[in-house]
Structures are given as C-alpha cells and as structure tokens.
C-alpha cells in the first residue's frame, strides 16, 4: 500500500500514551491532509506536546497508530532517521546549538544527516536566513540573538532539511509580545506556500487566521474540532466554551 498525496499525510488513530500511571493521551485520532494547517489548542497539561512528539517518534505510543505518508511511525522496522528528515519540529525554547553560529545551525543537519555538498548547503542556508528575515545575522551566535530571532533560526534550521511536515510546539510562548509577531509572520508565509503545519498554540487570533482546522484537547482527549470560524464562534462542548471564554 503506497501513500498518495490525496490521502492524509498524517493519520493518527486511537493513540494512547501513559507516563507511569498517568494516562496522558486517551485515544486521540486526527487526520491531516497535505498542505493543511492544523492548530491544536487546549489547557496546559492536556497532552498537546506529547501528541506532537508522537508524530516524529520523540515519544513512543502505547497503543493505536500514527502514520506519516502512509508509514507506521512506531513500526520497529521503520527507519526513524528517514522519518525525522520528513518531519521538522520547532520547540518553545528554540533549542539551538549554542556553540554554532546561526548559519552553522542551519547548515549542520543537511551537511551531516543528508550528506550534501557544503557549497549547496551554504547557498540554501543563506537563502533560508533571508526568508526568515535574518539576513546579516548569519555569523551571530544564538546567545547574541533575541528570542524571536533565535526562534526564526530554529525554523530555518528545520526547513533546511526540506521537510514535508512542520510541527510547532508553542513556539511563541517564550517570546516578548513584540517579537511574537515576527515569528508568526514567518509561519504564516510557510503556510501560504503550502507547507503542512501542525501547531500547538495559544495565539487564538493566529489560529483563526491561518488554520484550516482547529482541535481542542483536554485531559488527553480531543473534545471538539472543526474549521476555526465554527469552533471559535459556535463551540458545542461546555469545556470548549469554558476554555475559549478565558483565552479569547
């Protein structure tokens, strides 16, 4: 069974995941189409990060199935590194490599993981630095950049691997209000170009603007989901109403 682009690029079905005795995901299902932008919202501790981490196998599920481009992520025979080349991830705390310059951060994975030629990689990395509006900061170390700038380097670093899917885990949560916007603009540009994006976010305005589909999670289950114009204006479940009344 080969995957074709008209099938969901990410297919999550009845995923369960526990840490010790606490069940963090209690049967989560979700389909994401290629090119779609999906936002996951919900109170903290509801399992949003864990769900994202199951998609690129940073977390291992106990039950259920996660498929990326038709391949079972938790199949023991799966080439995990191949999966991670297809799925980029950006974290709340940027997690750049502090001993490398911005440009080196962007170049490292294509050089060492893909084994591409340095000249090609460098040209692409410089192009990506321009794309995330950081031209001129190539030789700065992460410690010399603001939070928003570091986060954009992190996005460029992921994009350098030419992933098919990007995961964003509360990437603006650690930023000053002024710099949130510059990061959101970068992500919106990506979404407009047709990148498949799965975002965990607290930026409801952004979710409403760019998302094709919004999922609301609480206590390890998806309570409600739908297009943003419906979910935000006519939430059905009392938990969704309660949550939205606090954040909107």
């Amino acid at each position: 069974m080969t995957w074709t682009a008209d099938q969901p690029i990410v297919k999550i079905f009845d995923v369960h995941k526990s840490f010790g005795k606490t069940e963090v995901l209690k049967g989560v299902s979700m389909d994401v189409a290629a090119g779609e932008v999906v936002c996951i919202i919900g109170p903290s501790g509801s399992g949003k990060s864990t769900l994202l981490r199951c998609i690129n196998a940073l977390a291992v599920i106990d039950q259920g199935s996660v498929q990326v481009e038709g391949q079972e992520v938790h199949d023991p025979d799966l080439d995990q590194l191949a999966l991670r080349r297809k799925v980029g991830m950006v974290f709340q705390q940027y997690n750049l490599f502090p001993h490398k310059t911005a440009l080196q951060n962007v170049m490292m994975a294509p050089l060492h993981v893909l084994g591409e030629k340095r000249g090609d990689v460098e040209a692409r990395a410089r192009e990506l630095m321009r794309k995330v509006r950081l031209a001129g900061k190539e030789n700065h170390y992460p410690g010399e950049l603001s939070g928003g700038q570091q986060q954009r380097v992190a996005i460029a670093r992921s994009l350098a691997m030419r992933p098919d899917i990007m995961l964003f885990d509360e990437v603006t949560a650690a930023l000053d209000p002024e710099t949130v916007k510059e990061v959101l603009v970068t992500i919106r540009d990506l979404a407009l170009e047709g990148m498949t994006c799965i975002l965990v976010t607290h930026e409801m305005g952004f979710a409403r603007e760019v998302a094709d589909h919004v999922y609301f999670t609480d206590h390890g289950v998806i309570v409600e989901h739908g297009p943003p114009e419906i979910l935000f204006s006519q939430p059905q479940d009392p938990r969704t109403k309660e949550f939205l009344s606090h954040v909107l």
């Binding site: 991670r84 750049l96 994975a109 993981v113 170390y141 691997m161």
Partner: protein, 248 residues
C-alpha cells in the same frame, strides 16, 4: 651566552648568591634533565588522565550496573586516599610483586621503573577527578538540545560527536583546567620514589653545592613558569571555545 654564565659565577663570588645551575655545566645539565622529566611526566599524566576521564565517564553512563559500580569504587578509592600513599602503593606493593628479570649485566632489575609507576599512579589519581568533571559536563547538556538534534535526524553517534561532547567539553573546561594544574604540581611527589624530576635533581644539587636557599627559589620559579605557560594555553583554548552570549 658565555658572558651570562660568567655573570652568575661573578654573582656567586662577590655576593654569595650561588646559582650553580647557570655557571656549572654539570649542574646545568642535571637541572635541565630534571625539568624535561617533569614536563614529560606531566604530559604523560595529562593525556592518560584525560583518556581515563573520558572512558570512565562513558562507562558510568553504561547499561551495565557492574561497570557503573566499578567506576564509582575507582573514584572513591583515588579521591579518598593521599596521592603520596597511592604512589608508594603502586611502586612498592604492586611494583614489588611483579617478577624481576636479569638485565644485560646479569643484575636483577624490576620490570618497570619509577617513572612508569609515577605515571600510572598519577594518571589514575588525575583521571578519577576527570571522570567526575566530565560527568558533570555531560549532565549539564540540556536534554532539550539533544532532542532538537534527534528531531533533525542526527544519529546517536552524530549527536554525541557534534552536540553533546562539544557542549560537555565547554561546560567542563573550567574545572578541567584546575585539575590539570593540580596534576602538574602533584608530579613533584614522584620525588618520593626517586624519579629524577625537577624537585629530585634540585635536592641533589643543593646537597652537593650547599645552596639550598637559591635552589629552593629557583625551583619555585621554575614551577611558576611551567604552570604559567600551561594556564596561558588553557585560557587560549577557553577563549577559542567560548560561546558568545551564552548563559547571559
């Protein structure tokens, strides 16, 4: 050069300041050989103690419980006993147990000389501290940084080589410098088992020439020069490896 040597002879004659290692060819040779022996012993101990620290820290992360226990016991043993006692232990207890063999002249001589035992004993002593230093460095590498590398598709070996080790080294450098300087100073203990290093030859010279005061001073300043050169080198390394803006 001759005039310099003659000046020291004059200093001895007119002021009674007897720096015989400068004007007496025999003493000069002895002193120089002692200096070289100290440098050689120091380099040997530095290199092997770094290797021991590296291997020990690696073994301490291992799955095997017995390996972790063995490393722990090794550290306790070498940290909780005086280095001079360790030196005697290796030279007399271990060295004395090994079989002797007949040398060219038919005399029974030990398998290993005092230099060998000093190198072994001091390397283990310095290495025990290095294991702890490296371990602290490895533990200081943020889990999140490693996960970022994992999500980019780096293999375990690449993560260690490109991310974990370079960061751990930087985090350990300050403590490592202190321990390395201490180790160089501790090589003077090799005097006790008759290694002809700096202190040993100085003692020979002052008992021949009865210039204890001058030799003590010269000895002290020789160590200042030796350790000073080493500290200078370490600082250059620290500067070369620094991560601009990190941790501020």
């Amino acid at each position: 050069m001759e005039t310099v040597w003659e000046w020291f002879r004059w200093l001895d004659k007119t002021h009674g300041i007897d720096l015989s290692v400068f004007y007496d060819t025999g003493d000069r040779h002895r002193f120089l050989m002692g200096f070289l022996t100290t440098i050689l012993l120091s380099l040997t101990c530095l290199m092997s103690s770094l290797a021991i620290g590296f291997i020990g820290a690696w073994a301490q992360q291992s799955q095997w419980r017995w390996a972790r226990l063995a490393v722990g016991a090794f550290i306790q043993f070498f940290r909780n006993t005086p280095p001079l006692v360790q030196l005697y232990f290796f030279y007399f207890a271990i060295g004395g147990m090994l079989p002797k063999f007949a040398d060219a002249s038919g005399m029974a001589s030990p398998l290993f000389g005092s230099f060998f035992w000093a190198a072994v004993s001091l390397s283990l002593f310095g290495g025990a501290f290095n294991i702890e230093i490296f371990r602290a460095g490895i533990e200081a590498v943020p889990r999140a940084t490693i996960e970022a590398a994992e999500s980019l598709g780096f293999s375990k070996g690449q993560i260690f080589r490109l991310v974990a080790f370079p960061l751990a080294l930087r985090f350990s450098l300050r403590a490592l410098n202190n321990n390395m300087v201490n180790l160089v100073k501790t090589t003077s203990l090799a005097y006790a088992i008759g290694v002809p290093e700096l202190l040993y030859v100085s003692a020979q010279i002052w008992s021949d020439q009865l210039n204890t005061r001058e030799m003590m001073t010269l000895l002290l300043f020789s160590y200042v020069g030796l350790v000073g050169a080493m500290v200078w080198g370490m600082h250059r390394l620290e500067r070369a490896l620094r991560m601009p803006g990190y941790g501020q």
